[in-house]
Symmetry: C2
Subunit: 109 residues, 2 copies
C-alpha cells in the first residue's frame, strides 16, 4: 500500500456492536454506505473492514468494524476526524445497545 513501509508495526482498531433492536435493510444499507465512505475521507485508514454477524454462533455481537493504521497517531486522527464523528453521532450511536473495543498491535502485510 502507498506509504506503508515494509515490516511496519501497525495498529488494529476493533469495535463490536450490539444493536438495540434488529435493524432494517434500509438501516443496514445506510450504515454500510456511511462507513464505506470513510476510507476516502480519512487517508490514515490503511484497511477498513466491517459487516454484520454471519450468524454462525449463538450469542455473537451484531456488527464489526476493523480498521488498520500505521501508527497510534493515525488511529487517533481517525477517532477524532469529523467525518468519523458524524457517522458515530448520526448513524451508529442511535442504534447501539452495547459496544466493546480494543486497539492492538499487528504486523504489516
Amino acid at each position: 500500500m502507498v506509504g506503508l513501509r515494509e515490516n511496519q508495526r501497525m495498529v488494529r482498531h476493533v469495535v463490536l456492536l450490539r444493536w438495540m433492536s434488529a435493524i432494517s435493510d434500509a438501516e443496514r444499507t445506510r450504515i454500510e454506505h456511511d462507513l464505506a465512505a470513510l476510507p476516502g475521507e480519512i487517508s490514515q485508514i490503511l484497511r477498513y473492514d466491517f459487516g454484520p454477524d454471519l450468524i454462525l454462533e449463538p450469542g455473537n455481537y451484531d456488527f464489526a468494524i476493523v480498521a488498520d493504521f500505521g501508527s497510534e497517531d493515525d488511529y487517533a486522527v481517525y477517532r477524532d476526524h469529523p467525518s468519523h464523528q458524524r457517522v458515530l453521532r448520526e448513524t451508529l450511536r442511535p442504534r447501539i445497545e452495547s459496544r466493546v473495543a480494543i486497539q492492538f498491535e499487528i504486523g504489516g502485510d
Copy 2:
C-alpha cells in the same frame, strides 16, 4: 475491504476477551506462545493476529484474536480443531471474565 471483488469473499473471526484479573508477564508469554503455534497446526488459518490492548482508551477489552479464513467451513475446522480446543481449555478459559465474538465477511487481499 474497499474495492473487494465478490470472488474474494473471506470470513473474519473476531474474539475480544476481558481477563478476570491482570495477567502476569509469564501468563502473557504462555498465551501468546500457545496462540502463535496454531497457524502451523491448522492450515485453514490464512491470517492470525492477536495481542493485548494498547491501553489508548478507557473501557477497552484486554485481548484480541482475529483470524481470517477462506470460507465458513474453514472457520468451523479451526473452531473445532483439537489444538484450538486445547488452547481454549488450558490457556484461555481459566483466565476469561467475559468474551465477545463475531464472524463477518471481508474481502481478500
